[in-house]
């Protein structure tokens, strides 16, 4: 019962990903894909590798085995004399523009106004003329409900406002997909709602999204598919209603009973 806005094209495709931190295997042969227009929610106990998986998608982490492809293009590697070698930083940077990322701790640039935070990447990386970039930025700020904060500095904003600016900043590069790593977990409870509302709107517009979150109610509402991880592996996946009402894997059951009560 896939909604019609989801195409069959696999926008992001990870196959057989293995990732080690020193002597611990953090990702253990993960296959993972996201179709165009799909909203995938990643859940799993702490330390199961959700963050690491997300970071592999835009090559903030290198992998020891497996492939990451975005729009069928290999991320972080290129062929040289018939073998895969690490790509140049410049090329990786170029590839990262396809995928926007929103961090748990917002990571806005503190020395720039909200408007500068949003326009810096289009201005410098896509050579958009300044006036156009600022108009687009104001449009995005309206979308996230902060048009009057354009000239404020991040430190003058609440956590929820900062996170909404971070979303606008990621959108300004017009990425094909957005990755969210627990976007509300560093927020005071009063501010969680406003950020989730913006994400819900975004999902409604057909944006491709991968979301790591502990907000199960939200997950159930917006997810097209829920992927459950444990110990660096995908242990279960499916439609949210199915996962939440009838989890198959004992670890999924344990996780949901811990989170939902």
């Amino acid at each position: 019962m896939k909604p019609p806005r989801i195409s069959d094209e696999r926008l992001i495709e990870l196959t057989g990903i293995e990732k080690w931190f020193g002597k611990t295997k953090v990702l253990d042969g993960v296959d993972f894909h996201v179709r165009k227009g799909e909203v995938v929610v990643l859940i799993g106990p702490s330390g199961s590798g959700k963050t690491t998986l997300l970071r592999c998608i835009n090559h903030l982490e290198t992998v020891e085995a497996g492939q990451v492809k975005v729009r069928d293009e290999l991320i972080g590697y290129r062929m040289r004399r018939g073998r895969l070698v690490a790509d140049y930083e410049r090329n990786i940077a170029y590839q990262r523009r396809e995928v926007g990322m929103v961090f748990q701790r917002f990571n806005l640039f503190p020395h720039m106004t909200v408007l500068e935070n949003i326009t810096i990447a289009p201005l410098k990386l896509r050579d958009v003329p300044r006036q156009k970039a600022e108009e687009d930025a104001m449009e995005l700020l309206r979308k996230v409900g902060l048009p009057d904060k354009a000239h404020a500095y991040p430190a003058q904003l609440s956590g929820g406002q900062q996170q909404r600016v971070a979303i606008a900043r990621a959108l300004a590069m017009q990425p094909a997909a957005l990755l969210f790593d627990e976007p509300t977990s560093a927020l005071d409870p009063e501010m969680v709602g406003e950020v989730l509302a913006v994400m819900r709107d975004l999902a409604g517009t057909g944006m491709t999204m991968v979301i790591v979150t502990h907000e199960m109610g939200f997950a159930r509402q917006v997810a097209d598919r829920v992927v459950v991880m444990a110990n660096g592996q995908v242990i279960e996946e499916g439609e949210p209603d199915r996962i939440f009402s009838d989890p198959q894997h004992p670890k999924t059951r344990a996780l949901l009973s811990a989170v939902l009560h």
């Binding site: 940077a93 990262r96 990571n107 904060k149 000239h151």
Partner: protein, 253 residues
């Protein structure tokens, strides 16, 4: 031997042309060497943090050697040693307007700058490392290549942190210029010594020289305090949330 106050005051308040020229050379060398050292030091710092291990080793070795040997030895080595080995020779350069830029001054500036670069590199490095990792990741995630990330995101934040240590470095630099007297640059110390060798008013002359240096360093200190205060005020803006914000007001802030 009594202290000749008359001589002291006249030298202090109406210094000879030669002394003023020495003062000029001192300040010129300090400023030039600080600028060059700051630029080169940034390069060394970036190499020290580069992914390439050869670059890292070269930068590390450079810092190790410079910080491990006396500046005085470096100055003599660069002026005399390099020329003796036929590696580098400092010839006078005639600037337009008939001004001569002597080789020994060139060598002095170069030696001071190369020395400074090693110290500046460590300052930059600690400044850059003290920028939150999240800033690096956010810039990368937006698709910025390394150079752009440093230029627009990391350095502006690092510079706020390192302004104070850089100010201290220039204070040290002002004083270090005296060492260049050993290769015959007539900066303030050497001028004072030659005046002394004709007048033998040793104590008065050195007291005057010390006062001039105190003046230079204290002026610099005042300037830095002022710059720091300004920076603190602009950092307030970055740190303290305001209650009410209106677009117009903020733009003016």
């Amino acid at each position: 031997m009594h202290f000749d106050w008359g001589y002291f005051w006249s030298q202090l308040l109406t210094p000879s042309g030669a002394f003023l020229h020495g003062l000029f050379l001192t300040v010129l060398m300090a400023v030039a060497a600080q600028l060059l050292g700051s630029i080169f030091g940034l390069g060394v710092a970036l190499c020290k943090m580069a992914p390439n291990r050869v670059l890292r080793a070269v930068a590390g070795g450079y810092i190790w050697i410079i910080r491990g040997t006396p500046l005085l030895v470096q100055i003599v080595f660069i002026y005399t040693g390099l020329a003796a080995a036929n590696i580098l020779r400092f010839n006078d350069i005639a600037l337009p307007g008939g001004v001569i830029f002597p080789g020994s001054v060139q060598a002095g500036i170069l030696a001071l700058a190369l020395n400074e670069a090693a110290y500046m590199a460590e300052i930059y490095r600690s400044g850059i490392l003290s920028v939150d990792r999240g800033q690096f990741e956010a810039a990368k995630a937006l698709g910025m290549p390394p150079a752009m990330m440093f230029r627009y995101i990391i350095m502006p934040q690092a510079l706020r942190i390192i302004l104070l240590p850089i100010g201290n470095q220039f204070n040290i630099m002002l004083k270090n210029t005296t060492l260049v007297s050993v290769i015959g640059v007539s900066e303030m110390l050497l001028v004072t010594e030659t005046i002394n060798s004709a007048t033998f008013r040793t104590f008065e002359l050195y007291a005057m020289l010390a006062l001039y240096f105190l003046l230079l360093t204290s002026l610099w200190h005042l300037f830095m305090s002022w710059a720091e205060q300004r920076l603190a005020r602009s950092s307030d803006r970055l740190a303290a949330p305001r209650k009410t914000l209106a677009g117009g007001k903020e733009a003016a802030a």
